[in-house]
Symmetry: C2
Subunit: 348 residues, 2 copies
DNA sequence: TTGTATGCGTTATCAA
DNA sequence: TTGATAACGCATACAA
């Protein structure tokens, strides 16, 4: 005999079967009542519900998922769950999904592309109804292959993946934000502007570089290629890159940091070198966090509504879960420049 | 030619049945091979695996869960997923659970106690194999009732719940940390020390108050009750409480903030009042975040290893998932005082 | 070592 | 409107 024990009188799980017996009706009727099927009489409904509460019956969502073919579950693969920014994305998404009755499963790739692929497979095996992915590497073939095999809808979170044309995408206007930041600095008289940002293979980086370049080009010049550093999103990279650039013969007079984590590294180096933002060097970073607001002086920021961005991702996904034929969509969240005291006119 | 789509020919799912047919063996043999059952011949293994890869078979974890009675899934209810601290707890837990083959489902109560209860029920219905909970309210009867009905093991995360004696608990030595922080301030000559911390109904708050009180009592005095403010963990409360206290006739000369979020509020008020920590007022906060490290001046912190705390929670849970008879355990993570420039000797 | 057969708890189809 | 019954895909007791 296959043995399973949960609750219930004799050690086996309390199921609809017992409820049906108690109410003196058929198993199928219990199911209908519990699923609000239209064709149930009031007397049937009350008899069943009485039995349900007497026995303290609890539905088994696993069995339900198997039978229905849908798990009411959505996966979200993020690159770094401990980054408060990702935490806010996931909060926005989770709130929206909850409202629709979906449970979000959050997974962390730790910026490892192999992990992306693994997780995509695991989610497929778990039969999620949809997937939101902020890939560690938007080109990695294994990951793309795994995602292509997924029949559930996909939303790419701030990533480009031409090989996944069936996916919806949510992004932020990084190019516009950095364009405004660069214009702001150029207007203040800075010409040696450094930009330190993430991996060059990721959309946010590509967009930021584009915005940076556009600002210079609009003035008939080219951006200083020696002052552009792409690499990764972590503090250590920000720290090293800042150090490097400031030790040059002609150091930058302004720095643009491409993320909150990079900002931590940039500030570590500046503090170590006793350079004060807003006085000795101009500083702009991306995404508003307490550190930026409460730093002395407060730091100028390219801001976006992170909670909302998560919510939009969830909406795009739900749209396609509900309507299989809905075409993939692209949504972009706007950015805005919050000018604070870390940027100042250069005096030559 | 391996079929690339996991849907079978007729649109229905590709199952072990097809694999068995393709390999010319019984359905059960496929299952045995895939589950590494000891009694399988090498020839059987290779035949089955060949068919599996030819057909691109993918297991259905939902069906497997139903049959096995275990979902290889663990729930984690946190009060505020967007707080970087909780994000780190969950990262530590997820990493540990992953290693053991479990998938973590993170849920956010937003510090709403009704949400705790709802989520506990949902997780029960989803048949999670275990649950880690950082309750919004450790007394709320509905939540306690829901948790009591869960037959899967529970780990309380930095919470006390005497009504749940079957649960393991992981906590941090908040009392010791605050005791050291208070001693530090008293040694520096401060006597009007304010403490602003979370809800008085939660363990961390209770422990902090205890540590605060102990420090004074060890010196034969009592802590200044008018300077203790408990309330909530958010920045708004920190901002208001700080404001209140500083506008009194005899304001504190030092402030202890009970969380990273409260710190944000405290600093907002101090900045607004142009009071500089480390010069005009001494400041200690709990949990090291970039803001504390990179603030000017850097802020003295009661530190704990958050990632590790998450990992320990996962370990306690796995211990009881694997051995049903294992007794509940209590683990405590140590805290340490990181003395920085925000604390200084008072000059009267 | 392998095959046969059953049931996990639910939903959906079909008659009644 | 209700009831009987057949899947959903898999893992296991048992027979061979």
């Amino acid at each position: 005999m296959p043995q399973t024990n949960r609750q219930g009188r004799n050690g086996s799980e309390l199921t609809m079967r017992e409820v049906a017996e108690r109410a003196g009706v058929a198993l199928s009727s219990v199911s209908r009542v519990l699923n609000n099927h239209p064709d149930v009489s009031n007397s049937m409904r009350s008899r069943v519900l009485a039995a349900v509460s007497e026995l303290n019956y609890e539905p088994n969502l696993i069995a339900s998922s198997l039978r229905r073919g849908s798990t009411m579950t959505v996966g979200f693969i993020v690159a770094d769950i401990s980054n408060p920014l990702f935490a806010e994305f996931s909060k926005g998404a989770a709130t929206e999904l909850d409202l629709a009755g979906y449970t979000m499963v959050l997974a962390n790739s730790e910026f490892k592309r192999e992990r992306d692929a693994q997780l995509a497979r695991l989610f497929r095996w778990r039969r999620v109804d949809g997937l939101i992915v902020s890939l560690a590497d938007q080109e990695y073939p294994e990951t793309i292959a795994e995602l292509q095999r997924l029949e559930a809808p996909i939303v790419l979170f701030d990533r480009d993946a031409p090989k996944l044309p069936q996916a919806s995408t949510v992004t932020a206007d990084h190019a516009g934000g950095i364009r405004r930041a660069t214009d702001h600095l150029l207007d203040l008289g800075h010409s040696r502007i450094a930009m330190i940002t993430g991996p060059s293979s990721l959309r946010p980086t590509q967009e930021r570089v584009r915005g940076f370049s556009n600002a210079y080009r609009a003035r008939g010049s080219r951006y200083p290629a020696d002052l552009l550093r792409t690499g990764s999103f972590d503090a250590a990279f920000g720290e090293a890159a800042t150090s490097d650039m400031l030790l040059r013969q002609s150091p930058p007079t302004a720095i643009i940091s491409g993320s909150n984590q990079l900002l931590v590294g940039v500030l570590r180096t500046l503090h170590r070198m006793s350079l004060r933002p807003g006085r000795d060097i101009a500083l702009v970073s991306c995404d508003d966090v307490p550190l930026a607001e409460l730093h002395h002086p407060p730091i100028t920021i390219v801001h976006r509504d992170t909670i909302n961005m998560g919510a939009v991702a969830a909406q795009l996904l739900l749209e396609r879960i509900r309507d299989v034929d809905a075409p993939p969509r692209l949504a972009s969240v706007r950015t805005e420049l919050l000018v604070r005291d870390s940027t100042f006119p250069i005096t030559t």
